[in-house]
Point group: C4
Amino acid sequence: MKETIIKVIKKVKLEDPILIEGLPGVGHVGKLVAEHIVEELNAEKIIEIYSPHFPPQVLINDDFIAELVKNEVYAYKSDNKIDILIVVGDHQSVTNEGHYEISGIILDIAQEYDVKRIYTLGGYGTGQLVENGTVLGAVNNTDMIEEMKKYGIEFRDNEPAGGIVGVSGLILGMSRFRDIDAACLMGITSGYLVDPKSAQAVLDVLCEILDLEIDTQALEDRAKEMEKIIAKIVEIEQMQMQHEIGADEDLRYIG
Amino acid sequence: MKETIIKVIKKVKLEDPILIEGLPGVGHVGKLVAEHIVEELNAEKIIEIYSPHFPPQVLINDDFIAELVKNEVYAYKSDNKIDILIVVGDHQSVTNEGHYEISGIILDIAQEYDVKRIYTLGGYGTGQLVENGTVLGAVNNTDMIEEMKKYGIEFRDNEPAGGIVGVSGLILGMSRFRDIDAACLMGITSGYLVDPKSAQAVLDVLCEILDLEIDTQALEDRAKEMEKIIAKIVEIEQMQMQHEIGADEDLRYIG
Amino acid sequence: MKETIIKVIKKVKLEDPILIEGLPGVGHVGKLVAEHIVEELNAEKIIEIYSPHFPPQVLINDDFIAELVKNEVYAYKSDNKIDILIVVGDHQSVTNEGHYEISGIILDIAQEYDVKRIYTLGGYGTGQLVENGTVLGAVNNTDMIEEMKKYGIEFRDNEPAGGIVGVSGLILGMSRFRDIDAACLMGITSGYLVDPKSAQAVLDVLCEILDLEIDTQALEDRAKEMEKIIAKIVEIEQMQMQHEIGADEDLRYIG
Amino acid sequence: MKETIIKVIKKVKLEDPILIEGLPGVGHVGKLVAEHIVEELNAEKIIEIYSPHFPPQVLINDDFIAELVKNEVYAYKSDNKIDILIVVGDHQSVTNEGHYEISGIILDIAQEYDVKRIYTLGGYGTGQLVENGTVLGAVNNTDMIEEMKKYGIEFRDNEPAGGIVGVSGLILGMSRFRDIDAACLMGITSGYLVDPKSAQAVLDVLCEILDLEIDTQALEDRAKEMEKIIAKIVEIEQMQMQHEIGADEDLRYIG
């Protein structure tokens, strides 16, 4: 496996779908919201993406089955409202080039489904424990700003200061070249933990934009579950880092 | 040498072989078990794998001969029991993409020999000095769980918490796409040192599964030997890290 | 997007243009000078370069629009003086190979426009707060040394001690093979902060060489603005580094 | 420049030449010896190797000219003794794959010149300030061991413990596949500094093997010069590391 593999599980017919992306990031806000939408709308998995740019790793699912780290695309076919494609995943790329490649692949899928608008979701970590409920916006097209402001999304000078890193950012930048409107909705978060309150704020705004009703009760439970797993991983990793025994230390020049 | 080289030393005829993989990892459990099996069964080397994804390094063997870091495949042709392919090696890849490539190559070899089942071996470091003797399992096919449990292999919710990293994990995930059953057997270990007790537990389970009799006396000696070498490497490397003299420091922007 | 993209916005006709490069580096001296020249000469953007070797990131511009990290080439068509191509950018490559590739692309553009001389701009950080006003030089052709000295540019034995890293250096080295004269002008700077005084010194020398008159009033404001943004980015990043929550931690071998 | 460039400066006729490699490494022993031989034998440069795997950097030579980091091959055509190819260079690769590629290129050159034996030179850092004068050996062919021992070269069990890293090691391992005999001569050194005493020991042995007479007076001066430059680079780099101002910090996930 030397190249990224796009595994199409099912072709679906969607009418003018929008695309939502929520991969892991600060506060796991984007991932939390996107996975919640997939669950609550009972969306259907249509594509799996495997890549040598993802961590070289399998995750163990609830049935004790090992699954390669992957990104997934789900489809939601509505009866009377908007159709939606949702991109979720276990991890983002670990190589620099991987971010660009995966973003390009997501946009290829968007174009194939004739997507005209994309919402990428994320958290914006401020290091402070306040400001919950605020959703910061960035767009790739000036026309969208006034519309976004109507939903309470804030646009602030020079924020996010460091720009937007990873797929959520690149999709915004790259979709300009394909004439797709895109906005990034960032829940302001401390950045310390999985932040269900910040996710709630992003979800509320998104539901209003899309005229969707999604039950948010389960969101907090989901966040707790996610945090428990992350805490365990971090614990294990810290243990391992302290006791590495030469399996793969940095190499030093001898010759 | 810009590409991975697969050097076929010998073609053998095997009947429905299973494949065992034991490359370096936590507690060196997998490597210890797999190399022990190669020695005790007097298995025959049939393939060498060289790769620019391995550390850029030679190791000095007992005859003072420098050999490129490599992975190897050994074959064991049984008279009246199961035939076995065994994958061992000095190192795993040091690049992200390398793990995916090497795992794919191992599966290509498995398919060429018509392997229907793979066991990948490893350690699961918990940071605690207890629990020796426990072997944790993960599979790529639900049907295998009950069978594995019969041999005392444990399946625990959300463990390993961080999934399985490296070739042992990727082989599990990737073999699903090739219709090969695969299980990862992980000896629980503190993770501090080369762990012969944990290796013994994995070997015992594996022998039972494969209906093999393998003398385990030498296992502890082998572990001590391995640990001595690793300790020396770590010592040398720490010394070198403290006294790096500009041979290859990180680069800083001047222009 | 797996490859670097060169987006030609406009073709212009220039007469014997020189090329100036000023990408981010120590003290942001080169970037400060080059962007100032673009602004003051009201130069026109003719090329955008996007690359998977740049950070996987968008920056938010003053209109809240997300733009991919990029390098840009501007053209200044003079009435009665020298024509100029100016290379500026948000970032340099983050991969080793990227520096070589981007430098090659800049030289391809230089050749297309029949450039005979290149000035790359940068800072040379000494760690000391003195020496402001000194401009150090390096060239790719002995004939240029005397000429450069006339403008007060200093040439010192074994300086810069570590050579010149990044595009400013590579362009010097690589342009030799294309028969293009090139000099690197390095403003000596402490290296602590964005250094407008050092930038002023480089700009003064460059204006004299090119017989240009460029107002330098705005330079200090521009430096302050740049520093404010950088300070904010650093602050955010330090916060994030302290509170990483498992989104993308280093991988450890388990299997 | 996306690929490694081999620039042939001159074709020479050599009779059964041996090849010596001395690139930067621990104690700069190999580089010191190889460059000394080039100077003292007045060897002629025949090949330059440029690569995107080398640091993205130019070095400033004594004439203030910026030159790309490179590896070089020199040829010494003897009247009545052995002909020699000598590989020297400013840096080794900074990418993992680069080491394998450059080693392969050096062996291609060796084969073109019909080289039957290679000596790679290096230091073996022990962290202790004694043992000067000892030269440790590794070979790629058992037949060479007795011959090497005659010259006082020592072969020790499990040393170097970590194997031989970089081009000096890879050439040994890779030349086996091309039927070229190769030995690595490692001067034991503390590893703290450029070590002219260790270099002297390696040079003495090498001269005896090749039946060469090379004046060693200049070796210590050369070492002092090299050390002075390295000290300056390290000083500059440490300064820069302390005062990085956001030019190229690690990226953190926001989106």
